[in-house]
Assembly symmetry: C2
Homo-oligomer: 343 residues x 2
DNA sequence: CCTGACCTTTGGATCGATCCAGGCCGCCCG
DNA sequence: CGGGCGGCCTGGATCGATCCAAAGGTCAGG
């Protein structure tokens, strides 16, 4: 064959191979791929035929080198902390990979020291391995955001810039307050009046945001909230402890929780006391995790629209990486309520 | 500055920049990075200083182009099926990303049509976007394996080549039979004699493998197994149904299940009947999922050593991609038992 | 003092794509 | 009839690294 001399027989075909087969120049083949409308119709057809016959696909490395773009987005996943919001992350990753593919991007995963939110970003950036990042762990405050902005690294955040509302980077977030308001209203419609809140410690912006939804719903009906709220760590044991205290001291008929983990704690307390979730006491969680779906009698839970989040994130990326780059602002999405036996 | 003319001020430094600063040629810098022992000590030091001062890191695209390697491994994740083995996959992905990093690889995610196990692989391969694949969904049988081998694409499988024991590709798997044997023995030690099995339908190799562990343990003590086994779909409802029938017809005092999902079904049945898991009836699941950890009273479960699996997978990759490529064979790892209240 | 082997360093070619400037051709219009 | 213009296509240069062959220097041995 008329392949260049030193190529292994299994090496994928190159532009030059296609060009030779179609009887045109390399540049014409390149145009057929990237700017088809520059070619005369019959030439285009001839080139496309050759492409198809050879099974040609542009070599990524070469294209990346020349265009200074990798078509990869980096996503840092936290070292498996075996517990909390992992399930949410998992769903998000799936959605992101899907949404990215449609925009011509692939997702590159990396990890870093959980205590240092910056590890990993720098190397990928300096070696031009990715075009942009998707930043997810903004609940820590987000040093990444300002750090990345300083280096002019394009990124989109899943999570609001809580600590800096005037930040100008694009972000997408789910309205946790609206979600908890939805949950609380749902309970109000079912006739509950003393609805307790179990959330996270006060230094969590997300936790306070979600709490505000519960608070808003209660206030809209002039219902009391004092003594009905508790703020603890995000563990099953904490949820259990908090619900015991609340049951003893405030006699709520329902609980809204900042997470499914806490809600599981409530379910444990109820079972301990011979109370039936959904009949005696209602419980609503947050995240619609696996657990919520399989636990008895099914845990009603606020479900984040992660597929939409991923789509919006990708839109943000396209804006940043497009020509010309579009600035892009924040997007806030509203969650839904997955109803099950616990309410 | 003495940068090449048309470079943007934010562009990362190149080999040429470092070379100029250190007063050596490009090749010498390249050697400093890739073959330090070729340089005289003082030259090396000077070059390394320049590298550090400029914060130089080799451009990935350029290196990839020249070396015909991307240092990326592709991992296909199934379209979110929102349920079953997802949690396991999540843990595995984390571990794989970690293990890969230490070997200098990054993980590239992609998805495909869940019904067609081949979509996605081809494009990545032809565009030389990845060096190798990690294949996980071998429970479907593995058309990928033979397909990839045909195209001389390096890959390592997580999962045995059930349908073709003579396959020569490297693989890593967890000994499900040993896991279930462990679980059964644990129950035997606790005095149980009538131990029931709830597993998957007979066409699942993994399911039959796990079942054989239970069977082996029972037979080692000459205990009967007839009437004590059930094979159903992998859903909570199926587990519930199967356990109801078994309780009525075979009076087991314990259940070993092929998955945590099925075990959850058993827990539901017990609760329905006012029986207490762990006190009245023991239950053991498989996968040590999130659910097993938070459900009441804690579900004893077989835990796959996914961190080790990932390390072995990466070893396999290094073997395949090394010089010279090492053939590599199968590796079978033994799971452990995470004990909780249900047994 | 010369030769050859060895150690260190160098310049040019190369990977496979895209950018850029320019060439060819046919057509319109002065 | 000739210049100009737009449509289509081409060859050379380029992205930033590594491969390769060979140059310059040092040193031992003849």
């Amino acid at each position: 064959m008329s392949r260049l001399p030193g190529r292994a027989p299994t090496a994928p075909p190159t532009l030059a191979d296609v060009a030779e087969r179609a009887g045109v120049s390399r540049q014409t083949v390149s145009n057929a791929v990237n700017n088809p409308d520059l070619l005369r119709a019959d030439t285009l057809e001839r080139v496309q035929l050759a492409i198809a016959e050879l099974g040609y696909l542009p070599n990524r490395a070469a294209r990346n080198l020349r265009t200074r773009a990798s078509h990869l987005v980096g996503l840092r996943i936290n070292a498996a902390q075996e517990g909390t919001a992992n399930a949410t992350m998992d769903r998000f990753v799936h959605s992101l990979v899907d949404a990215s593919r449609e925009a011509g991007y692939h997702v590159l995963l990396f990890t870093g020291d959980p205590l240092d939110p910056l590890t990993g970003y720098d190397d990928l950036l300096r070696s031009t391995a990715v075009d942009a990042f998707v930043v997810t762990d903004t609940y820590l405050g987000n040093p990444q955001a300002s750090w990345l902005r300083e280096r002019r690294a394009p990124f989109v955040a899943f999570g609001r810039p809580w600590d800096n509302p005037s930040a100008t980077h694009p972000w997408v977030d789910v309205d946790g307050a609206a979600g908890c308001e939805l949950a609380t209203q749902h309970l109000l419609e079912r006739g509950h009046r003393r609805i307790a809140w179990i959330g996270w410690r006060k230094d969590s912006w997300i936790g306070e945001d979600r709490r505000s939804g519960w608070h808003r719903a209660m206030k809209s009906r002039d219902l009391p909230t004092t003594g009905l709220a508790s703020r603890v760590e995000d563990t099953v044991a904490s949820g259990r402890g908090a619900s015991e205290v609340l049951l003893d001291e405030a006699q709520p008929s329902a609980f809204v929780c900042a997470s499914d983990t806490l809600a599981m704690g409530v379910l444990h307390t109820l079972a301990d006391r011979g109370l039936v979730a959904g009949r005696d006491i209602a419980v609503v969680g947050f995240d619609d995790s696996q657990v919520a779906q399989v636990v008895r009698p099914g845990l009603t839970s606020v479900r984040q629209p992660l597929e939409e989040v991923a789509m919006e994130v990708v839109k943000g990326l396209e804006g940043l990486l497009g020509h010309p780059p579009a600035p892009g602002r924040g997007v806030l999405l509203t969650p839904t309520l997955a109803m099950r036996g616990s309410s």
